[in-house]
Symmetry: C2
Subunit: 325 residues, 2 copies
């Protein structure tokens, strides 16, 4: 988030678990402390205009205490609670659904013919302004490298072979979820394109299967591929600034995660990738290389999907060490 | 340069004149010291793999001493000396010019019919790899705001109405200058499109009128408008990494400088610009606002030059306070 903050003139402060954490390496005067330590977080929050959290970090109960004492927490603790309770969210969306809306939010068990994964990334500000990036397809790899939680293998923006109707359904559902959550910030709404729903005529439907608040791996393509990145947008949203243009910069953008692999030091393979393809954008997170842990990502933008995807996959596989030519 | 360093996984260290300097605000653990203080610079350099300098900062004699003692200084002190001596450079380029090359470097006085200003931005690595961005037109404003040294009013990329032949001449001249300088890093070669040279048939010719080593205002458009920004390229070049793709991301990119103006606090006008045009990229430098001092720039990319330029000018003029609607 620091590159976006620099351009916007926003001063970022960070509470990081150690001086070796990625964020502490790039933000001046990082505070070192545990994000579940009430005293540390409370002291840190007192010097911030707005406190925001990345997914899975921190205690919602602690944020509730801080918010009650006057700290501006965005997304709000209420949003965080709701986003984590899929059953409650599904009921709530079902109840507020209009009769002609073709996508009710379903729970995964209700729709057996699960197909590919799509993600609708949206942002919403406290004023209620909301924007949506193009719906993307997220492709997970098989095997051990990709068992690390929510790491995406590959993101294709926009999702290929998606009809304008299904894309509009995914977007409107994600915007409705953001509104229901009272969201301030960025939200990734993970969906599965599914068939075989009871009572349907076999047409595709969308099943919402997870919600992630804050910038998310499925949105890293926006750094190089969209006019406004998810990081800039998250900052604008939590600060209640007007939101930026989410449109793509190129017909196709593919981002592939780079997990730690064969090489403890990525320097030589990184060098090779830079030399082989000057158009690849490599992003390294400064984290220690461990097999399976995502240490960066690569992004390629261009006019032809096959070419863009092949270049991005090659670069990622080469840096990881899966291939050596 | 910090956003580019973060993505590349390069650890940037900075020697800044004060904690309030732009660089010190965004790079962790900035050293505070005067860039002409030999002891401070020498101590700082010992903890760096490569020392690079921004234009006009530091003493070349000091860099020569450091380089002689083993510090890697890029661009080299020899390059810095040569780039500052326009007469020597003109002679040297004249002597090495091939007979069929249509642009000899001239000194400004030799070509009276001076027209618009063009800038050819190139990068070269110690290995000799070199790349060139599209040639741009730089338009300076009249009046007091623009008397601040080398501040550009407006940069249009690529330069409008430039024939492919003249563009190729400008690029090849800039690449030859970079080679003659033994450059490591980014170089902006400022030129004037001129007519009326003695002995010519009235055709346009290019007069090189200044050389600037390191990232330069005329290259700020590359942050949003090119696959590889001048900052990322400068880092790649001084570290002798393979250079990145310099191609533009959009048919037209216009960048307009924002000088300090009527408003001591830019927040409200910044907010207005963000709300009015979500596609404008605003870059603020975190410097104190003083009339005439450049405090940021705005960039707009798009398909139509008139639209892109009008939006960029409006945003810059609004933030400065020249207009209020």
């Amino acid at each position: 988030m620091q590159p976006a903050a620099i351009a916007l003139g926003v001063r970022l402060r960070v509470l990081a678990e150690s001086a070796a954490a990625s964020a502490a390496q790039v933000v001046p005067d990082a505070e070192i402390g545990n994000h579940r330590d009430a005293a540390a977080v409370t002291a840190f929050a007192q010097a911030c205009d707005v406190l925001t959290v990345t997914h899975g970090h921190g205690s919602v109960a602690l944020f509730e205490t801080l918010a009650a004492a006057g700290t501006v927490v965005r997304p709000s603790p209420a949003t965080l609670v709701l986003a984590q309770d899929e059953v409650a969210m599904a009921r709530r969306l079902g109840a507020s659904r209009s009769d002609d809306e073709p996508v009710p939010m379903l729970l995964a068990g209700e729709c057996p013919g699960a197909g590919r994964e799509l993600t609708a990334l949206v942002a919403r500000s406290p004023s209620g302004q909301a924007v949506a990036w193009p719906v993307v397809e997220t492709v997970r790899a098989d095997g051990v490298c990709w068992e690390t939680g929510e790491a995406c293998r590959e993101v294709i923006a926009p999702a290929p072979r998606i009809g304008p109707e299904l894309a509009a359904q995914a977007t409107s559902t994600a915007l409705r979820v953001a509104g229901e959550l009272g969201l301030a910030g960025v939200l990734a709404v993970g969906m599965v394109e599914a068939t075989g729903r009871a009572g349907s005529d076999g047409a595709s439907c969308l099943v919402v299967n997870n919600l992630v608040t804050g910038p998310h791996e499925s949105g890293h393509w926006t750094i190089d591929g969209a006019v406004t990145s998810q990081f800039e947008q998250h900052l604008r949203a939590v600060l209640d600034l007007p939101l930026g243009d989410p449109r793509p910069r190129a017909p196709w953008t593919v981002t592939v995660s780079v997990p730690g692999g064969a090489y403890p030091d990525l320097y030589r393979s990184f060098l090779h990738v830079m030399a082989r393809d000057p158009g690849v954008k490599v992003h390294l997170y400064g984290t220690a290389v461990e097999p399976g842990r995502v240490v960066g990502h690569v992004t390629v933008c261009g006019d032809g999907l096959d070419d863009v995807r092949a270049r991005a996959r090659h670069a990622a596989d080469f840096i990881t060490g899966l291939i050596d030519e």
